[in-house]
């Protein structure tokens, strides 16, 4: 068995606020092997971004890990101090974000911001760092890197800025790159460029990639493994191809069906009724129960078990009791 680079075990994250505490992420587990691409997919508010931020120890104010472990190269990094984490961040685990405009400091040149990472982690001179930064700019496909080095973020386009973010993230050759919706703010043609670049560099550096996205298309074209999250929980996890050919969880099925298809015409789109419940109004039992077309009594009462149906799905419909009880399995897409 290949050793996991990152292994998240029973992660729970919650927010302290003036009314007390709201649990947001509930018992999330997954692992990434070396060189692998794992996607976490889900809609707004499902907790996919928070999951990635908790790995980095960058939870927003009030957020904290309440339970679980985050094993990176077999060390638990879930409760390290900022000082300890600063040795890992940017060097072993790097992260790029959705909004390349706001993620870069507007008052520093992009070259400075890239070189800074190297200076923070390695014993190099300012000159060497600058030189390396120019090389990185070239590597991420920025034309005339020497000139761009001296420019400020506002002088670059969105796509260029995201390339700068990538250069910054990869300058120390990390083992893991976390990309949180890296192409969401970009146009399709630019998105294609950036995704291609990330893939290419991932292979070149032999990194693992944790990609957070809401776009099933992106997942299908990039991921080795996928986790589908809903309302702070994992509902299904699988190899990519398997997931798209045999989605089992009613949520995953609904999600796939509700995308307008490019290769066929349909009169009406399949939908998932209703909306995601707010964290304060989470139903007991299965969190998807309020929107699930197949909800049974048990779904309202108890948290669904993890069932292996060729891959893992968190759903009562596939539990042995149900199958034995004669309740039909849900049809595939």
């Amino acid at each position: 068995m290949v050793k996991d680079l990152l292994s998240v075990r029973h992660l729970n994250v919650g927010f302290d606020h003036q009314f007390g505490h709201t649990a947001v992420i509930d018992d999330v587990s997954f692992s990434i092997e070396k060189g692998e691409t794992l996607c976490i997919v889900g809609e707004s508010g499902c907790g996919k971004s928070l999951t990635s931020l908790s790995i980095m120890g960058l939870l927003p104010k009030g957020g904290r890990i309440t339970d679980g472990k985050i094993l990176f190269q077999d060390h638990d990094i879930s409760h390290k101090t900022t000082k300890e984490l600063s040795k890992i961040r940017g060097k072993e685990i790097s992260m790029i974000f959705q909004e390349p405009m706001t993620a870069l400091n507007p008052l520093h040149t992009v070259g400075h911001q890239i070189a800074e990472v190297l200076l923070a982690h390695e014993k190099v001179s300012r000159n060497e760092a600058n030189q390396k930064a120019v090389e990185m700019l070239k590597l991420v496909g920025i034309p005339s890197p020497e000139k761009r080095f001296k420019q400020y973020p506002h002088e670059l386009s969105g796509g260029m800025r995201q390339r700068v973010m990538i250069a910054m993230a990869l300058i120390c050759k990390p083992d893991l790159l976390i990309a949180d919706e890296p192409t969401t703010a970009l146009d399709v043609t630019i998105q294609a460029q950036i995704l291609e670049l990330i893939q290419e560099l991932k292979n070149k550096f032999g990194m693992s990639l944790l990609l957070i996205t809401h776009d099933l298309g992106v997942v299908s074209e990039t991921a080795d493994k996928v986790i589908v999250m809903y309302a702070g929980q994992v509902v299904e996890s699988s190899e990519t191809k398997e997931l798209f050919t045999h989605p089992k969880h009613p949520y995953t099925q609904g999600l796939i069906k509700s995308i307008p298809k490019m290769d066929e015409d349909e009169e009406e789109l399949a939908t998932i009724k209703g909306t995601v419940p707010s964290p304060d109004e989470m139903p007991e039992g299965c969190r998807f129960v309020t929107r699930c077309p197949f909800a049974k009594d048990i779904c309202h009462q108890k948290k669904p078990p993890i069932v292996n149906v060729g891959h893992e799905v968190h759903c009562w419909l596939y539990s042995d009791d149900n199958v034995k009880g004669g309740i039909p399995l849900v049809d595939n897409v």
Partner: protein, 318 residues
């Protein structure tokens, strides 16, 4: 960059023009006849008419304005009604005094505001932050004249450490000059320092929430590096703008401070001139102060554009 400065200069000249118009209107639309004012109620109608003629008061207002501006451009601000000394020479006497006071106050304000603001933002929610908040709130609320009187009561009347009032020129006796300026500078500077503290604190808190700060941490920078390299400079931008805008209120405060501590500067000059209705002096002094405010704000704009690379591209607008 040069382009930007040139544009700002053009804008500044426009404002200076409006400032001069405002000053002129303010003083020349006074109810009451300057000639009567100058000659006293007893003067004959003929004498008054003659004076009006010689002062050009019978001309239309815009001619009077042009005359006046023409004089201003040549460094002639008119003559005091009281003793006919040129306003310009009176101002030149008073300006260094006020300059010393304001610079000292400003230094005190900045010396307090920057460290206090930073610490209270970083240690938000601690006892230190609480103390700072109370200080800042009191500082912006305390009337300068009361603070001045409290200082005098404490340090002069009760403790006898500092002389209650007076002024010695910096060139005559630097030590004594500074000693005399301690209380006035504190009483003038405290409000600004409180304001800057509040601004810096809230601005820094806001910046610390920005995405690029998260990026800074994500890169593996230590907290110190994040705060000082990435947050502080960005947080200073709004503080800089505000301190430019606050400058005029700050100079206004000098009026009160100089009156309390009997500092013979521009402020005291204005108050006395207003009380004796010596309007040419009022006019000249106000004009000077407004020009100073506009000019300093021009410098602030330039400083801002040096700090913020997004500015110098020049204004594109829809």
């Amino acid at each position: 960059m040069l382009y930007y400065i040139a544009r700002r200069l053009v804008l500044m000249i426009g404002i200076l023009f409006l400032v001069s118009v405002l000053v002129f209107v303010l003083i020349n639309v006074i109810p009451g006849d300057p000639a009567t004012l100058m000659l006293g109620q007893e003067a004959t109608a003929g004498a008054r008419a003659a004076l009006r003629q010689s002062l050009g008061l019978n001309d239309p207002l815009y001619i009077q304005y042009l005359h006046w501006v023409g004089g201003v451009l040549h460094g002639n601000l008119g003559y005091s009604l009281a003793d006919h000394t040129p306003v310009m020479s009176i101002l030149l006497n008073k300006i260094p005094v006020t300059l010393e006071l304001t610079i000292l106050s400003f230094l005190i304000a900045v010396a307090i505001a920057i460290p206090v603001g930073i610490i209270s933002a970083i240690r938000k929610g601690t006892a230190w932050d609480y103390v700072t908040t109370v200080f800042a709130l009191s500082g912006v609320s305390i009337p300068a004249f009361w603070l001045g009187i409290l200082l005098i009561y404490l340090f002069s009347v009760t403790l006898g450490w500092l002389p209650p009032s007076g002024y010695v020129s910096l060139t005559d006796n630097p030590v004594k000059s500074i000693v005399l300026m301690i209380m006035p500078s504190i009483s003038l500077g405290i409000r600004l320092s409180a304001q800057l503290t509040r601004m810096l604190r809230s601005s820094l808190l806001e910046v610390m929430e920005a995405d690029y700060i998260r990026t800074g941490y994500a890169k593996g920078l230590m907290e110190k590096a994040v705060v000082f390299k990435h947050a502080l400079r960005n947080a200073m931008l709004p503080v800089l703008t505000v301190s430019g805008l606050e400058l005029s209120a700050f100079l206004g405060g000098a009026v009160i401070t100089e009156t309390i501590f009997a500092v013979p500067g521009l402020g005291q000059l204005i108050v006395n001139a207003i009380l004796t209705r010596d309007f040419p002096i009022v006019q000249g002094a106000i004009l000077f102060i407004a020009f100073a405010v506009v000019f300093v704000n021009f410098l602030v704009d330039i400083a801002y554009s040096l700090l913020d690379p997004r500015i110098s591209l020049g204004g594109a607008s829809k």
